[in-house]
């Protein structure tokens, strides 16, 4: 479904990613693990076509995302580490725009009900620049709920969330797992990855150190590398 071939990326002549290749199959729930600054966010940004690799190709359903027209990328949803929404617009306006730009016409009522589920409906007309970081993170889940996607790239799914927020987030993730959706999460939490993800990708020293199904992995080995 999503094939990554020989991706290279450098900043200031220092290589961050070297010869990264892997294939994402339908229904894969992948955890991308690695130390801080190792290049997880960079890799996800390349996958979401925010950042251009120096070398390499990416195929989405056999279409090269760098050669085909934009419509070939329909179904890809990237949620970055930063907010990725306009601070001067309200939650409602932001979500309406996000849905429209992903080609989905959503009635106001469905957007409002999603915000309701996340406990944000009483703030939906406020400019999001006054939201707390946890509320902003919840908005990303609203986005993921409203837009129809086939593959999700999510950078740090649980950052800034309190217990209530985390439970809400986990509910969404459980729902997606149930529906066999394809997802890649960049995360710092190896325990959570082993519990929920079907596949682990460990990024270290510019390369993918290993790429295995969760059942075959020894957690101590991972923790040792992450230290």
């Amino acid at each position: 479904m999503y094939t990554i071939n020989n991706i290279y990326k450098s900043f200031y002549h220092r290589a961050i990613l070297e010869d990264i290749s892997f294939k994402v199959n339908q229904g894969d729930m992948i955890a991308l693990l690695g130390k801080n600054g190792i290049g997880k966010s960079t890799l996800l940004r390349i996958l979401g076509k925010i950042s251009q690799p120096d070398k390499g190709t990416i195929l989405y359903n056999d279409a090269n995302i760098y050669k085909e027209k934009a419509i070939a990328r329909k179904g890809i949803l990237y949620l970055g580490h930063d907010v990725g929404l306009y601070p001067s617009l309200s939650a409602l306006d932001n979500l309406k725009f996000a849905c429209a730009i992903h080609g989905k016409k959503n009635k106001d009522s469905s957007i409002i009900s999603t915000l309701n589920q996340l406990g944000l409906s009483n703030r939906m007309n406020d400019q999001i620049q006054i939201f707390s970081k946890g509320m902003l993170q919840s908005l990303k889940y609203a986005l993921a709920d409203l837009i129809e996607w086939n593959i999700l790239f999510f950078d740090e799914p649980f950052s800034y969330l309190d217990l209530k927020g985390r439970k809400s987030a986990q509910d969404y993730i459980d729902k997606w797992i149930e529906n066999s959706k394809t997802m890649i999460f960049a995360t710092h939490d190896p325990q959570w990855s082993l519990l929920y993800c079907s596949r682990l990708l460990l990024l270290d020293n510019r390369k993918i150190l290993f790429d295995q199904k969760t059942n075959d992995i020894d957690i101590n080995k991972i923790v040792k590398i992450l230290r």
Partner: protein, 221 residues
């Protein structure tokens, strides 16, 4: 259509934030005051200089407006939303150029009455021609402006880099705008200055086309 969605978003953003048109207007007003006070010239001299002066003001406030437009995209990394969506980069360019033109036109509508008053000008009766000159002028400014903003958006010192790249590139277009405005102001018939309008239109066409094709390479990190 995506283009309409993007333009609507830019205009809504300005409507809520009010961070573009008001600074542009304030800055333009400040320049008018400085010129009017520094030169304190007779009406004849004012009439001679005002076409050039008007376009200098428009150039400066465009530079400010362009910078603001792209800073709004950088806050909270909002531009990522548009980039990650299935939208052709050329469409993003067109939407930026067109919404920029609209915002610039609004700022000009606000700035021209004080300009006329403080420079003590008498305006020819066929002002609709001036509206046309302003429209084509603004399209040209914003086409090259959107390209240059895309280049300087992610740079360090982007507020400094933008004018340095922008002013020389747009200068032939400004020459044409000033000439057209000058001829219109003097009341000469269109035949005399049609070559300038054609130059302006060629500029708009060349850079809209170029920007549309090349924006792909500017947007990504």
């Amino acid at each position: 259509m995506m283009f309409y969605t993007l333009v609507r978003k830019d205009l809504l953003l300005e409507f809520r934030a009010k961070e573009i048109i008001i600074p542009m207007f304030a800055f333009g007003l400040a320049i008018i005051m400085i010129f009017a006070l520094s030169f304190n010239a007779s009406q004849a001299i004012n009439h001679a200089f005002s076409p050039g002066l008007l376009w200098i003001i428009i150039l400066f406030i465009s530079s400010l407006g362009l910078n603001r437009m792209f800073v709004l995209e950088k806050e909270f990394d909002a531009f990522t939303l548009t980039l990650a969506a299935p939208v052709d980069r050329g469409i993003i360019f067109l939407s930026k150029a067109i919404s920029g033109t609209i915002l610039l036109l609004i700022a000009e509508i606000l700035i021209i009455p004080p300009f006329i008053i403080f420079m003590n000008l008498t305006i020819p009766s066929d002002w609709h021609i001036m509206v046309l000159i302003l429209l084509i002028g603004d399209l040209g400014i914003m086409s090259i402006g959107a390209i240059v903003s895309g280049l300087s958006m992610r740079a360090k010192l982007s507020e400094m880099l933008l004018p340095i790249l922008f002013f020389p590139l747009v200068s032939p277009h400004i020459i044409a705008c000033v000439k057209s405005t000058n001829y219109w102001f003097k009341g000469l018939s269109f035949i005399n200055w049609q070559s300038w309008i054609f130059l302006m239109i060629s500029f708009v066409l060349v850079f809209f086309l170029l920007g549309f094709m090349i924006f792909e390479y500017i947007t990504e990190e």
